[in-house]
Symmetry: D5
Subunit: 147 residues, 10 copies
Amino acid sequence: MTTAEITEKLLAAKKAKGISFEDLEKVVGCDETWIASVIYRQASASEEEAGKIVETLGLPPEMAEPLTVPPMKGGLDPLIPTDPLVYRFYEIMQVYGVPVKAVIHEKFGDGIMSAIDFSIEVDKVSDPKGDRVQVTMCGKFLPYKKW
Amino acid sequence: MTTAEITEKLLAAKKAKGISFEDLEKVVGCDETWIASVIYRQASASEEEAGKIVETLGLPPEMAEPLTVPPMKGGLDPLIPTDPLVYRFYEIMQVYGVPVKAVIHEKFGDGIMSAIDFSIEVDKVSDPKGDRVQVTMCGKFLPYKKW
Amino acid sequence: MTTAEITEKLLAAKKAKGISFEDLEKVVGCDETWIASVIYRQASASEEEAGKIVETLGLPPEMAEPLTVPPMKGGLDPLIPTDPLVYRFYEIMQVYGVPVKAVIHEKFGDGIMSAIDFSIEVDKVSDPKGDRVQVTMCGKFLPYKKW
Amino acid sequence: MTTAEITEKLLAAKKAKGISFEDLEKVVGCDETWIASVIYRQASASEEEAGKIVETLGLPPEMAEPLTVPPMKGGLDPLIPTDPLVYRFYEIMQVYGVPVKAVIHEKFGDGIMSAIDFSIEVDKVSDPKGDRVQVTMCGKFLPYKKW
Amino acid sequence: MTTAEITEKLLAAKKAKGISFEDLEKVVGCDETWIASVIYRQASASEEEAGKIVETLGLPPEMAEPLTVPPMKGGLDPLIPTDPLVYRFYEIMQVYGVPVKAVIHEKFGDGIMSAIDFSIEVDKVSDPKGDRVQVTMCGKFLPYKKW
Amino acid sequence: MTTAEITEKLLAAKKAKGISFEDLEKVVGCDETWIASVIYRQASASEEEAGKIVETLGLPPEMAEPLTVPPMKGGLDPLIPTDPLVYRFYEIMQVYGVPVKAVIHEKFGDGIMSAIDFSIEVDKVSDPKGDRVQVTMCGKFLPYKKW
Amino acid sequence: MTTAEITEKLLAAKKAKGISFEDLEKVVGCDETWIASVIYRQASASEEEAGKIVETLGLPPEMAEPLTVPPMKGGLDPLIPTDPLVYRFYEIMQVYGVPVKAVIHEKFGDGIMSAIDFSIEVDKVSDPKGDRVQVTMCGKFLPYKKW
Amino acid sequence: MTTAEITEKLLAAKKAKGISFEDLEKVVGCDETWIASVIYRQASASEEEAGKIVETLGLPPEMAEPLTVPPMKGGLDPLIPTDPLVYRFYEIMQVYGVPVKAVIHEKFGDGIMSAIDFSIEVDKVSDPKGDRVQVTMCGKFLPYKKW
Amino acid sequence: MTTAEITEKLLAAKKAKGISFEDLEKVVGCDETWIASVIYRQASASEEEAGKIVETLGLPPEMAEPLTVPPMKGGLDPLIPTDPLVYRFYEIMQVYGVPVKAVIHEKFGDGIMSAIDFSIEVDKVSDPKGDRVQVTMCGKFLPYKKW
Amino acid sequence: MTTAEITEKLLAAKKAKGISFEDLEKVVGCDETWIASVIYRQASASEEEAGKIVETLGLPPEMAEPLTVPPMKGGLDPLIPTDPLVYRFYEIMQVYGVPVKAVIHEKFGDGIMSAIDFSIEVDKVSDPKGDRVQVTMCGKFLPYKKW
């Protein structure tokens, strides 16, 4: 089974059973975006977490194991994404990447925001002029080491 | 004066006067990241905002006008950034782009998070295991129109 | 069934029954280009719209469901298209992109034409020197937010 | 004088005199977007048209001649534009390029919309929910020749 | 049947029957290079022309229909071709593209040679020092429209 | 003096004196497109030919020498040209490259059309429906050597 | 049978029978590298040569015909090869390409070394400090034609 | 002084004094292609070799020192060269790279031809049908180490 | 069996039997990273080594032979890797490549670190602030040859 | 002063005074490769460290300040380096990237080697068969966070 086939099977089961990512969050006890990342094979779960996901989706237990393997991550094709929703994150990096870098360096010194010791959450913010999507990223600041 | 020269002059004055983006936030009344975006010519200010920025930095008033012009935005070179801090945002898009898309569609339907009717903020979150960088993006949900 | 297979099946049925996009426009009550976008999996329909499309093409009702899913959009391969008709739109962007940007900024201020709250229509304009293709794009102006 | 310097001089004069592209349209008798294209050196004017543009901008007559030369057109850098406004046209091509191709072939047969025997206009459409940008492209249909 | 499969079937039949493109030219009444373009799915034929091609190759009549569909054209992979014969045309464009542009503008004004209202022929020119390949392209001159 | 500066000087002199490429053809005794290639530094002339070009343009004799140096050829930027006239040759290669390859192999066997032992000419073909540009390429057929 | 499948079959047979390229050289009477090029479908053989190759490898005679077809050549994927042995040739071109060009022009005038009327041979040169690979390329000098 | 300026000065002096690379070979006692590589800053000379080159070209002794610095090598722009002579080496790698790899592995085992412990020479081979360019590369075979 | 299938089979057997790369190191007597390279088909083993690997994994002996073939190496897709762990090596090259080059040249003169006569090892370094990954590369210094 | 000019000045002073990176290591008390990284503007020093570097090189104290600014890092041009020494690190990533990933995951679990909390050292290892370059990278293991 290729990575894409695993994802497809899990999504099909999720759709057939009418289970949302939010439902999975309640069962597994982890954030829904992280669970979506496990299903799209961008993150690896513990055996227990994988087991709960698979069981909730009504799939046989042997579907759990592949979800625990550290995957080849990334791999959006093409390198500059064309899907408008995904592209907006590329655009944000293009437009605000350097200003954000300047502010982070001013606040923290030379270093980066980790994308590994990191979380990303999606929330709906109600607004009379139209609901808003809030994406909150939170990563450990890693100062450059000298040696 | 090219765009790069305008930015360079403003940053030199800012450094010479020891003014932080946070100081500018207090004077101008807008978020520091947005002000950094104006200085890096990724956003355009009103005449009043531009005037305050320029005055605070101790620069002559005619420096304000170029900050009000809608700039050619983006333009990170190369297209896939090599600076480690900026690259992490590319990596986040590669790794979490599709899971985030799935969660947004589940919560909102078919559409996108606007990168125009949009804000981005940087905060320091104290943590005994090491401070964390929090980046909060908030954009209007734009549903696809049918016609 | 992959996305490409769904499109292929719909187009084959459309051809076999001799139904034009214009015929579908009359049945569904939406513009023919939008309907073509649904069939090429660049837009998602409501269940009712999808049902009408599928029924008109003489296909079984279960073909309707996939048309309601928000698809991975774009994905023209290669990134700079080689099909002469599609390339002309790339050429128009290359040649007229910056002048159009200048005119829009002069008329509206800093912001963009939305490609989401957006419609695109194709019309035939009769002309004794040779018919003309008229493509009308109409998108909401989105001013840049400050924060 | 390089092409970029010519454009810069004309835009500086236009700004200094407070003349809009619409003002130039009235003087020259051609559409404002086409005039913007001449100024950005994407189109070439007749000597008379170039003379009127230069005169209206209060520039010396010898500035007119370079505007009559067929320029190297296009040349947006990078090939996939990062400016959000210009990018939207790339996105439209990515998302709607193939559906538009299908509709044009159905209405006209095998051929293309010319990008040479072609006009492009920008209009403001008032709308209580927010003004809209309307871009109208109109190009001669060119059927493929057989030989 | 994919486009590549159609081409493969036609070429296999052509080889098996020992028919040359020149033979097809005599039957169909169109130039051999154009007929090769139809078979490689870069051009679309009328039903009558497609019928003659298919019949001459000894294939069943239902093979004719796909040849009448306007195809996705181009699509050489990779974008800069590596086949030495095809690459020579890329090299000619690289080396002589700008000089040819200069001569065309001097002879015709601002505009292009159409690649749609266009023919291309291949001839053998006998030469005691070694035969020569003559490629003759002939396209309508399209002057840039003003508007 | 860079290559671009040499070209610029020659073109400026040519314009100032009102000399066409066709005029140069009569003086030098070589085709006008080849002369344009020398001026754009894509071809190298003999000392005598270079001397005639320079003299006819009213430039000092020391301008002749650089035209005799074998240049770095090609170098269109970007690799896939965006100028509409030059792009059409790229499009022709994309659309007709493989059919032309098939016809050449059928007529000549395995080998290529030389782009070195090669000429390219541009002619105006009068036509009541609009003049046509005729480009004639003629290169030695080079069969693949076995060893 | 695709091109890759033909190559695979021939290589499998060659391995199974324990035949080296050098053995094939003796039977066919052509250089081993050229024979390898035929097997990898980068060169086309005569019917007689193809017959000998196929017979020596113990394959049925109908395997010979595909080896006589002029193939789509090149096609290394990716364009800048990552295999270390093949990459070294790219590196040699990057490092020594311009110096070699300078020496060839000094010795021969403006023109190129043909890669068609061309041979390439591989030899082992014994050396006490470690054997050396000698690659000898020999191509006809083709002077640029004037016209 | 940039690298390009050093090269330019040396080539100008070489031309002015009418010295060939072959002349330099006799004075320096190294191959002419290697000397050309030093001048184009792709190789570094000893102080003595650099001194001889500079002296023979009639340049001041301080020009010698920069020739002893290990340069940033390669850097052909663009990555796939467009100059026809240099491109032929790219084409040879595309067409014959894999067959040559197969032959080297058969003769030597798993490893590469070094491009560092390596020489490249250019010779003229007289031939009544037209002189030939012979390029001889000779690099140490480096077997892959196991560890 | 394609290269990817061989790797997949070996990894599946390794997982099923619960054998680590370190276990294989003990059996084969070579470093675990090198063994991983053999399994991912980036290195070729001797028959004996391949036999031990296959036997330890409980696979039939005929699986050993493909591991002795020199493979097409590299081939990470895409060229700039998106997997965060692999990308870090790209980032290290981008950030520290030139400083490392400067230090190597100062210590060794003009030349390179071989990536063929080369070993790479991975070790875990315990650290109370968090374990560290140590990667040790060791390659023969190859000085540039003169000729 | 641009970043490149700062580097150039420091390297020129270093050369003029005959100071090695190793000498700087003794004065500054940090590793020579890290100091080279500061000079090439890939790392930022403290004021004290920058002061010592500048003083040792005999430069005025105001040269120290720019070395304390967090730079735009990376930026090797082109993205796939052509300098043979730097390229070898790209090749190592291509060939050994995936095996190294497999070994790290087996030893540490899902996560990466940090390139920020990271050191890189270059050592000369004497060897009778030719000295060897040893590059030791040591980065903190960062396990993927769940949330």
